[in-house]
Symmetry: C2
Subunit: 423 residues, 2 copies
């Protein structure tokens, strides 16, 4: 890694920064295990203390006591819209245009299906879907699955090292599916600028917000995005596999049809009509019965995010990621670490990724020494920086552990060499 010349940072300065941190009180809302610095909240956020109580309420009182009546009396049936409306505020969408439901993968399918249907009416010649080679794979796999299944001559083209979005954005492009913050590198797209670029070429923009919602200010309406999807178990701390969300721009809602037309999206689901008629508004993007315990519990994490000032979150996130990068450069100049996260604030999400030729073993050693980050192919050490429950001293201590693991060659121990799957 090339060393820049930051001012020398001290642990005392980090402790002082924690003491004046306006977000410091949020940490108490989470249960964090002792002896662990958790730098994987960009993969699975930790447990909000209120979540267990909410789950107990759903299970013991709503399911156990009120049973089937809970669909109405305890509002189960309305949860996707109620929580979706909250998520819409977090991503700068208007009220009522977002539902919490299903998985990110399934919602990619709905958004892409709806977008292609809109284009097939308006500009039927457009047969190309653009995405990124380095996108999170499920976005590519779902697109590939749809293209093959439809067999209508659609083609998936990928922006990669040899091409830019501009190179591919011809008048044959129907839809661009990009991820706002890259899962591996943490690179952040300019939501406004890229959306304008896509629209200028006559295409529609679907944004995957998995690694940005809850981590930074997002404004899908202002950016003019067409569709957005994302998960809730990362920076929203919704719990393992908590349902995802899908947001649709108002201008598409009235006519957008999505292919997974299940009964929850029907205009009158309890009329039990033989034919499908989509509900007005965003409910038409629902499909089947949702996992209520996981869904209701997720709302606790969403409420925490809503109660935080997202501008402060972003400011602290950039301060912490900059601190992390600065400390690595200051204290670990002699190791083969390569920063793959952009240095520019405008291009950085909320995690930092470093390549190391023995990244897998290094991450295992780090975890064994109490710093929980994760590993991503190829050779990538990934550190999620989550301002609601991490402080400046945590970052200092994490980098210090990384220094020890590398300086003392702790990663060379045989138990860290075995390559079983890491999630």
């Amino acid at each position: 890694m090339t060393t820049t010349t930051p001012d020398l940072i001290t642990r005392d300065a980090c402790v002082a920064a924690d003491q004046s941190d306006p977000l410091a009180s949020f940490r108490d809302r989470f249960r964090l295990p002792d002896g662990v610095i958790y730098l994987d909240g960009n993969s699975l956020g930790p447990l909000p203390k209120q979540a267990l109580e909410r789950a107990r309420q759903v299970i013991e009182s709503e399911w156990g006591r009120d049973l089937i009546t809970s669909w109405n009396t305890n509002g189960w049936f309305d949860l996707p819209v109620r929580i979706g409306t909250k998520i819409s505020r977090l991503i700068g969408g208007q009220a009522g245009a977002c539902v919490a439901t299903d998985t990110t993968s399934i919602n990619v399918f709905k958004a892409l299906g709806a977008a292609l249907a809109v284009q097939a009416e308006d500009q039927p010649g457009r047969k190309v879907v653009i995405s990124e080679r380095d996108n999170f794979p499920t976005d590519l796999y779902m697109t590939e699955g749809m293209v093959e299944f439809l067999d209508h001559g659609y083609e998936l083209k990928l922006v990669d090292d040899d091409s830019t979005l501009d190179d591919l954005l011809g008048d044959d492009v129907a839809v661009v599916l990009f991820t706002h913050v890259n899962y591996r590198t943490g690179r952040l797209w300019d939501l406004v600028g890229v959306t304008q670029q896509i629209h200028a070429a006559g295409a529609l923009a679907i944004w995957d917000l998995c690694h940005s919602v809850g981590a930074l200010e997002v404004a899908v309406s202002e950016a003019g995005a067409d569709f957005a999807i994302g998960c809730t178990y990362k920076y929203l701390n919704g719990g393992p596999g908590s349902p995802a969300f899908i947001w649709v721009a108002d201008r598409h809602l009235a006519r957008a049809r999505q292919p997974l037309s299940g009964w929850w999206g029907h205009a009158k689901p309890f009329d039990m009509a033989v034919s499908y008629a989509p509900a007005d508004g965003i409910r038409r993007f629902l499909c089947g019965t949702q996992p209520i315990t996981s869904l209701a519990m997720m709302e606790v994490g969403v409420d925490i995010a809503l109660s935080a000032d997202m501008a402060l979150v972003r400011e602290k996130s950039l301060a912490l990621t900059s601190l992390f990068i600065g400390l690595v450069e200051q204290r670990l100049p002699d190791h083969p670490l390569t920063l793959i996260t952009p240095r520019s604030h405008e291009e950085r999400g909320s995690h930092v990724s470093l390549r190391h030729p023995d990244g897998f073993a290094v991450m295992k050693a780090l975890i064994a020494n109490g710093v929980l980050g994760d590993y991503r192919e190829p050779e990538v050490l990934r550190f999620g920086i989550t301002p609601l429950y991490l402080g400046y001293a945590d970052v200092w201590d994490a980098v210090e552990t990384l220094r020890r693991v590398l300086d003392e060659n702790l990663w060379m121990a045989p138990e860290f060499q075995l390559r079983e799957a890491v999630t």
Copy 2:
């Protein structure tokens, strides 16, 4: 209702039957609210006492303490296959050919997509999908959505009052999608005979087992079924909206491709490859990240069902539904009730449905008097009979309450006339 002439049944005889019931001890595994006879377990099964403890373990220990490592150390990633393998035993499928995942609606889409793809290779001229007009609507809506989205000339044809399966089963039929037990009437199809009939016509058979799994013996492999799907929150007591399942016959597994090709179905999900390659075996029917709390908690209900002798469950189910029908005929001969559930054991699932011209108000009055059944359009009072936690005296008492509601015109009270939605 035409009255048959059953022997006069007494409450004492019901109490005696409960005392010699070999399944009686199962009731203690569930939390049932006081003062309620719960006849809606065919819509949402009650809370198994162990479920809250299992949820607490997942939330507090696995999520709260072990965090991201739980995907491997606590087996989260394997839950769909582990639980699916158990469900496979409950439906008479072979090991490893079933996964617990997503919703019934989504799994209909996968099964139908895979079945149509198989037929498109083997018998490309077949363009008709047959289902039942009286099927649970989401099965029809998902089929309609796929047919329209694909726009490959497929057509959905429905068996209804004016047609039989035989009438429609021509050499243009690719797939038949039937529901084993009808959600409204409780009519049970002959799984073996109908599957043979479908195969004889060169079509593939998809069975929806939502109202049969956990309620009676199912043998999909023996019947030669091609695909099966179903939910787990009814007779399996998995909790509100607990994930559904999909089963695939061995002969289709190796080549069956389903259109929702998300990363959980990839051969090597953590290689983060750019192109999709389906996993060997049933894992290719997975799509995205599952709601772990709802999924893990559901296993408690599946385990209870597995520990019961399903032949005894079926025997008691038929005894209880026959008792219900007999008591209604014996004690309520003068009310406008019409049985729409088949009398023949071979054609009856595990619920009893009666039409009454004022069914909606009658059901509301019944619920207000402690008998929780549900209402389905048009005019249908539906009573789920669930042998694991209902006894003979419960059935007696429920019919006695129905008698009171009708004899004393309790349903005519103004508060029972308002028609808001009932789930």
